[in-house]
């Protein structure tokens, strides 16, 4: 099942160097964080609250779309909600694992397409983590490869 969704995700090696995310989170099906990392200079707790609250919208989007087009549902959920300072984007895998990317509102160079490709990259890397036979699904992600990939997406904000 999950394999099929891997196939859908074409490898995308777009240059994302100019893009900066301030927080990237992977959230399990049961809504507890599998991985959450934010820009170190900023208040980590704030991002945790933001990501957690965004799950409301993720669930709303999944349930509103999920009924009709569960099969060909797009994984990218788009902008979940904007705040004065941040924009929160969501993505949900077929196995209901959620990815949340928070970007700075002042970062106006980001387009929807770039966010999408960030999510695809994240998904690919997550898939690699899941393929690791030593990884127990449901455990916090501690993969170095995943970590460095996330680091690459989070350019230093200072």
């Amino acid at each position: 099942m999950t394999c099929l969704c891997f196939l859908c995700v074409s490898r995308d090696y777009d240059e994302l160097s100019s893009i900066m995310a301030v927080c990237i989170a992977v959230i399990a099906k049961e809504n507890y964080p599998l991985y959450i990392r934010s820009v170190p200079t900023q208040n980590e707790l704030k991002f945790h609250y933001t990501v957690h609250t965004s799950l409301d919208v993720v669930e709303e989007k999944i349930s509103s779309v999920g009924k009709a087009l569960a099969d060909q549902r797009e994984l990218y959920l788009g902008l979940l909600y904007p705040t004065e300072d941040y924009k929160v984007y969501g993505y949900v895998t077929n196995s209901k694992v959620k990815f949340v990317i928070v970007v700075d509102s002042s970062n106006t160079s980001l387009r929807d397409n770039e966010i999408r490709s960030m999510f695809r990259k994240l998904h690919n890397s997550f898939t690699d983590v899941m393929c690791n036979p030593f990884y127990i699904p449901g455990d916090p992600i501690q993969s170095k490869a995943f970590d460095s990939m996330v680091s690459a997406m989070m350019v230093q904000a200072c």
């Binding site: 049961e30 957690h52 409301d56 916090p140």
Partner: protein
């Protein structure tokens, strides 16, 4: 730019395209109403330039009197006031009139239009019949039209139309109207396309120049807005909106470029400091004030954005898309804040908050104004964002102005408030009368602490309710939490508590550890203020063990607990305080990791030492000294039925398995699942949350049910022990609240004392003064084992001063069992089978149980003759402890007296095993083991109360009961031992004519090999004159297992032996190993009856006459001769079967010739009864014919001789014949005489034959079915001389067929 009087036109949204009318005003006035009514009635397709989709459009027009002023001057871009079509009306039908005035008018009109470059004109000639009738010198109608066409429309003949009888209701008039309207519409649209196209081109050109230095955005804005106005006028709101969106995007792009370092000059005006922040105005269709500011290039960024959004809002509402307004509003507000930041516009602190707050409320009011309540409620999700934003901003303002504090604002705060209020300006006239305007709200909120609180609460609650209504619980909790923070700052922890607890619960349930930690700290603060000591301490414990906190913070919280503990104990020591014990859940304090039993088996006997080692992982950041660590134990008495007296019964083991379902390992350890503490790691609680979502792991155990009698397996299976957890209803609501969720103990804070119920338990495992270091600690306990029963470990509690940490349930269940056992004696053979007749070793085992064997205690064995105890000198007893260690060995002293054998036991402690071995000998019972086939003999019934024989796998056995008096009991113990007799003996009497031999076959049925010596046979009746000649070897013989030895004696006698002879066979035997084993006797008694030969049977087969040999198929003669060998003996004399006739005693014999092997065919009578005289040498011959069926050496057919006992009449037969009675009397007389010499045995024999004691001739007519009886002779009475003889039979001569039998 335009003149003043045009303003009202713009003001009304009822704008219509302007159409001027020239010519005859009266004529037009008459037609005006019809025209204005009919024009918009039918839609017209508007084909657009630039590939835009065609649209159906209902055209309307504003008809005005033609004036030259109306025509746009050069460079005027205004579109709203632009006349799109010019119509000249005339009803002239007279050429003269036409030439005289009308033509001139038209010419002037045309010239003016041309002068202004307008091509959009139309000449309408109205024809009416009424006018025609009056005029006689009529020119044809066409001529006027033609003239006009000729004069004005050189190439555009369609610019002149006629309208016939417009005021009449005729079909002609209708038709004429219709074509006229179509023409009018077409021309209007043509004009639109042309003029708008031109306008758009101009506009585009203007836009292209935006890089030029002098370009002004505001100017361009006004131009494009003009286009938007026209589209709006044409009710093309979508197109109008596009114009504004383009402007919006253009402006945004400039701001972004500015951020990127590309600053446009004109942006400077927008970078001026913000002086007014009075929010959006959405109540007017067009905010003229702002528009003018833009026109004058004096607008600030907020002014421009506000104006732009108000226009977008208006259009969106026209388009019935109010929810887009809210969405765009939120974007706009966020965007404006960002843009001001980007453009580095200086803004008074708080001003933007005011602007955002007012704008949010304004948008919400606007939406409320155009939607009904149901619609609003259904679309909460669109408005809730604005509500929350407004709430946030109000909170910021409250913070800024010192309204959220206990003391109220100070002077600095007040100054700031005044500055902020100044920026709001005066309230706008349109909301001045409304009580609930955003302006009023903000002013009120900022005016005092109380009103601020009122408004803030109102907004917060509204937002929370909406979030709850649309199911965004997390967002609702977040608002709640910020509300709680507000309450905390206001010094109202009571109100904050509920919100914090709710939030905490949801974070714990979903496993977000940072939030849990953060919220829990707030909770702790709140609880401290509220004086909820117990809850506070519990929260402190959780925080002290929280890895998300720094060491200092953790130590602080740990110290809080310790302080409380010490403080309470101090007050108690002063005797002032009542019981202030605080029970807290242990989950946050320490974790039970492992329990280890020493010894490993959790089943011990009463009084045994059982150590219990507890591994406790302390989560505290510092070492904590525990005054006491205790495990409460639930004690349940062992069920009397469950425990057998024997340790080795299978029932014992099964409960032992079940006792510790946690899986007591062979090493005696019970491991507890490691539950990560709440917030124990950055993601530790996450796993806890996962645990709450995912069901617990299955706990499966093997279960075996064994039969109590022989320990065979009845059933086996797998049992799930935690079904109650797994099958629990998965309710989302309850799963958040269950105390066990994730084991993280988050709910303990709310549950408080209720969750930690202390059990009263009499039994406790305790240790005092333990210091728990951070991390793993090992604490030993001594488990109580005074009373037998099951001990279940229930609770673990740690006492620190007045604070007690309690683990309410130890799960998986840990139990140990203490059993009490009665002392017990068992005697078991050392070998598989005990053999009778030989010394055998048996093992005595004493399980002391609770009894202590003291010095002088002895076993008293009552002696029996059949099984003496053999003394050996080297008898030692081993003492083994319950764990199987050899404790000691000591020699036993055995004293035998006549009746008892006393074995003194060495002193032994309780629950030890004492064992020793003794030699016993079981005498082989003298009586022959009874075989079923053997006849019961008189006087041979042996009475052996303590033994009985039975058969087991071919071996006769003897159950030997031993009665033992044990020192611990007043009752004797009866123990049964089974001995097996190693031999089986059989005897047989062999005859050779008159000579007799006795053969004894001794069969070794045991598994042992024996040596056999001195077999002897003696007669037990010594008076007899029998002589027994042994034909046996003198030396020892070997009898191997399962083999036999035969012994033979010839019996000779001088005088006639008695009918019954009793013999006794004795042989000595000893096992082959060891070689020096003592020989033991084996006896076998038997008796023989009537040993002497009475008859000799001889048979001859003669071939047929004239034949030398027998042939198959031919009859041969069988000559059987029966010869009496002996004189009648005393015993025989009175034999009932003999009869006397003519002074000669005869006896009746029946012979029978049987050929079982089908070799012979007996022809004629095969059986017959003969009367034999009872004298020696009396011979009877019988001749019979037999026919051999096969050729060869055929064995003789077997001949049987039987006593023939004719039937005598039973007494019930009616006495109809005198002879019968006579005979009866006679025979009775005879009998009386003969009786005297009868032996007891014979008399009893006679009694067996019961009524047959008198001989009687067969009754003439055998009424009552009298049947003769046959009785066989005892072996040895008849000697068959021809036994085993064979006769040669030749095949028949004409035998062609050779029969071959192959088997």
């Amino acid at each position: 730019m335009e003149s003043h009087e045009e303003k009202p036109i713009i003001y009304t949204m009822e704008n219509k395209p302007i159409v001027t009318c020239a010519g005859d005003p009266a004529l037009f006035a008459a037609l005006y109403s019809a025209l204005a009514q009919q024009l918009p009635r039918e839609p017209m397709e508007w084909r657009r330039s630039y590939g835009r989709a065609p649209k159906m459009i209902h055209l309307e027009a504003n008809f005005v009197q033609f004036k030259e002023d109306l025509l746009p001057k050069e460079g005027n871009k205004a579109l709203l006031t632009f006349p799109f079509l010019h119509i000249f009306w005339t009803d002239c039908c007279d050429t003269e009139v036409y030439k005289a005035s009308v033509k001139e008018d038209m010419l002037r009109w045309q010239t003016t239009l041309k002068h202004h470059g307008s091509q959009d004109w139309l000449i309408v000639v109205v024809e009416s019949d009424a006018k025609k009738k009056n005029k006689t010198n009529l020119l044809p109608r066409t001529s006027i039209m033609d003239k006009i066409r000729n004069d004005f429309c050189n190439k555009q003949s369609d610019r002149c139309v006629s309208l016939a009888d417009p005021l009449k209701e005729s079909s002609r008039s209708q038709e004429s109207w219709s074509s006229f309207l179509t023409k009018l519409r077409t021309l209007l649209l043509m004009s639109f396309t042309k003029n708008l196209g031109r306008f758009e081109d101009d506009m585009r050109t203007m836009r292209e120049k935006r890089t030029e230095p002098g370009w002004s955005f505001c100017d361009y804005f006004m131009v494009q807005e003009e286009l938007a106005f026209v589209f709006e006028m044409l009710q093309q709101y979508e197109d109008a909106l596009v114009q504004y969106d383009e402007l919006d995007a253009l402006f945004t792009q400039y701001v972004l470029n500015f951020g990127a370092g590309d600053a446009a000059n004109w942006l400077g005006s927008f970078c001026q400091p913000v002086r007014s922040w009075n929010g959006l105005v959405l109540r007017r269709p067009i905010d003229m004030e702002k528009r003018e500011l833009i026109q004058r290039s004096e607008a600030s960024l907020l002014d421009l954005r506000s104006y732009l959004f108000s226009r977008q809002c208006t259009l969106l509402i026209f388009l019935q898309r109010p929810w887009e307004v809210t969405q765009r509003a939120l974007e706009l507000l966020h965007n404006c804040v960002q843009e001001l930041r980007l453009l580095e516009v200086s803004v008074l602190q708080g001003a933007l908050d005011c602007w955002v707050f007012l704008s949010c409320l304004e948008v919400l009011h606007r939406i409320e104004g155009c939607c009904d309540r149901a619609q609003l409620e259904a679309n909460c999700s669109h408005t809730v964002g604005l509500w929350t934003y407004a709430t946030e901003k109000l909170k910021c303002l409250g913070d800024l102005c010192g309204l959220v504090s206990k003391n109220g604002p100070n002077s600095e705060d007040l100054n700031r408030t005044v500055d902020l209020l100044a920026g709001l300006g005066a309230e706008r006239p349109e909301t001045a009368n409304s009580l609930q305007s955003p302006y009023k709200k903000l002013k009120e909120a900022l005016s005092s602490v109380e009103t601020f609180e009122k408004h803030y609460l109102e907004l917060s609650h509204a937002a929370m309710e909406m979030y709850t209504a649309i199911g965004r619980m997390r967002s609702a909790r977040l608002v709640g939490k910020s509300l709680a923070e507000f309450y905390m700052r206001k010094g109202d922890p009571q109100s904050a508590d509920g919100f914090l607890q709710d939030s905490l619960k949801s974070y714990v349930a979903e496993g977000w550890s940072l939030q849990v930690t953060h919220t829990r700290r707030q909770v702790a603060e709140c609880q401290k203020l509220l004086g909820q000591t117990e809850d506070y301490l519990q929260t402190c414990a959780l925080l002290a063990s929280d890895a998300n906190l720094t060491d200092e913070e953790r130590k602080h919280f740990c110290q809080e607990i310790l302080n409380h503990a010490n403080q309470s104990s101090q007050t108690e020591s002063q005797g002032e305080s009542v019981d202030q014990k605080v029970a807290l859940s242990m989950a946050a304090f320490a974790q039970l990791r492992e329990l280890r039993f020493q010894p490993a088996s959790p089943t011990v006997h009463v009084g045994a030492a059982l150590q219990l080692e507890l591994r406790l992982c302390s989560l505290m950041p510092v070492a904590v000294r525990l005054e006491q660590l205790a495990v409460s134990v639930h004690f349940s008495l062992e069920q009397p039925g469950q425990r057998g007296s024997s340790l080795s019964t299978p029932q014992r083991r099964i409960p032992a398995q079940c006792a510790a379902p946690g899986g007591v390992s062979p090493e005696g350890a019970v491991l507890f699942p490691a539950i990560s503490p709440a917030g124990g790691g950055p993601l530790g609680a996450g796993m806890g949350g996962a645990g709450a979502g995912a069901p617990a792991a299955l706990e499966l155990y093997e279960i075996q049910d064994r039969s109590p009698s022989d320990n065979t397996l009845n059933t086996t299976g797998v049992v799930c022990k935690n079904v109650h957890l797994l099958l629990r209803r998965q309710d989302s609501a309850t799963s958040l609240d269950t105390p066990s969720a994730g084991g993280s103990g988050g709910s303990v804070t709310s549950g408080g004392a209720a969750a930690v119920a202390m059990e009263d338990s009499s039994q406790m495992l305790k240790t005092r003064d333990v210091t728990l270091l951070p991390g793993n600690n090992s604490i030993p306990f001594t488990a109580p084992s005074q009373k037998p029963g099951t001990y279940t470990l229930r609770q673990l509690s740690a006492m620190v001063g007045q604070v007690q940490f309690v683990l309410p349930h130890i799960y998986p269940t840990v139990q140990y069992e203490v059993y009490s056992q009665e002392p017990q004696l068992t005697i078991e053979p050392l070998t598989d089978n005990l053999l009778a007749g030989l010394p055998q070793k048996v093992k005595f085992t004493i399980v002391t149980g609770h009894y202590t064997v003291k010095k002088g205690d002895a076993l008293q064995l009552s002696n029996t003759d059949s099984m003496p105890i053999l003394h050996t000198n080297s008898c030692t007893a081993r003492i083994v402890s319950s764990t199987g260690e050899l404790v000691g060995e000591s020699a036993l002293s055995i004293h035998s007296s006549e009746k008892v054998t006393s074995i003194s036991l060495p002193p032994t402690l309780p629950y030890h095993t004492l064992d020793f071995q003794l030699d016993v000998l079981c005498h082989i019972p003298a009586s022959p083991a009874r075989l079923e086939t053997e006849r019961l003999t008189n006087g041979e019934v042996r009475h052996r109360p303590k033994s009985r024989t039975r058969y087991n796998s071919g071996m006769a056995s003897v159950d030997q009961k031993v009665s033992i008096d044990c020192p611990w009991s007043i009752y004797s113990t009866l123990i049964s031992l089974t001995f097996y007799i190693p031999f089986k003996a059989k005897h047989s009497l062999l005859s050779a004519g008159k000579r007799k031999y006795i053969q004894v076959c001794l069969q070794n049925v045991s598994d042992t090999n024996f040596r056999l010596m001195d077999p002897s046979l003696t007669q037990r009746q010594q008076n007899s004159s029998l002589e027994l000649d042994s034909l046996n070897p003198k030396e020892q013989q070997l009898v191997h297992s399962k083999q036999s030895v035969f012994c033979l004696w010839e019996v000779k006698w001088a005088s006639e032996p008695p009918a019954c002879l009793q013999f006794s066979f004795v042989a000595s035997f000893a096992p082959t190993e060891p070689a020096d084993a003592e020989f033991k006797p084996y006896c076998y008694d038997f008796q023989l009856e009537r040993v002497s030969t009475l008859y000799c049977l001889r048979a001859e087969i003669q071939p047929a006459d004239g034949e030398p040999q027998c042939r198959t198929g031919t009859l041969c003669g069988l000559d059987v001769s029966i010869t009496r060998l002996t004189e009648p003996t005393d015993s025989e004399r009175d034999d009932e079967e003999s009869t006397e006739s003519e002074g000669l005693r005869t006896t009746k014999l029946m012979y029978e010739v049987v050929d079982n092997s089908s070799n012979w065919a007996v022809c004629g009578k095969s059986t017959g009864v003969v009367s034999m005289p009872v004298v020696a040498s009396a011979t009877h011959r019988v001749l019979m014919e037999v026919m051999p069926l096969f050729a060869g050496h055929l064995p003789f057919p077997s001949i049987k001789l039987l006593k023939y006992l004719p039937h005598n009449v039973t007494p019930v037969i009616p006495p109809d014949t005198d002879s019968c009675l006579e005979n009866d009397n006679l025979s009775l007389l005879d009998k009386g005489l003969e009786d005297q010499s009868d032996t007891a045995s014979l008399r009893s024999r006679g009694s067996i034959h019961s009524l047959g004691s008198s001989d009687q001739p067969l009754p003439p007519a055998s009424r009552g079915l009298p049947m003769p009886r046959l009785e066989p002779f005892s072996p040895g009475q008849v000697f068959n001389c021809s036994q085993g003889r064979q006769v040669l039979v030749l095949p028949a001569t004409d035998d062609h067929i050779l029969e071959v039998n192959a088997t």
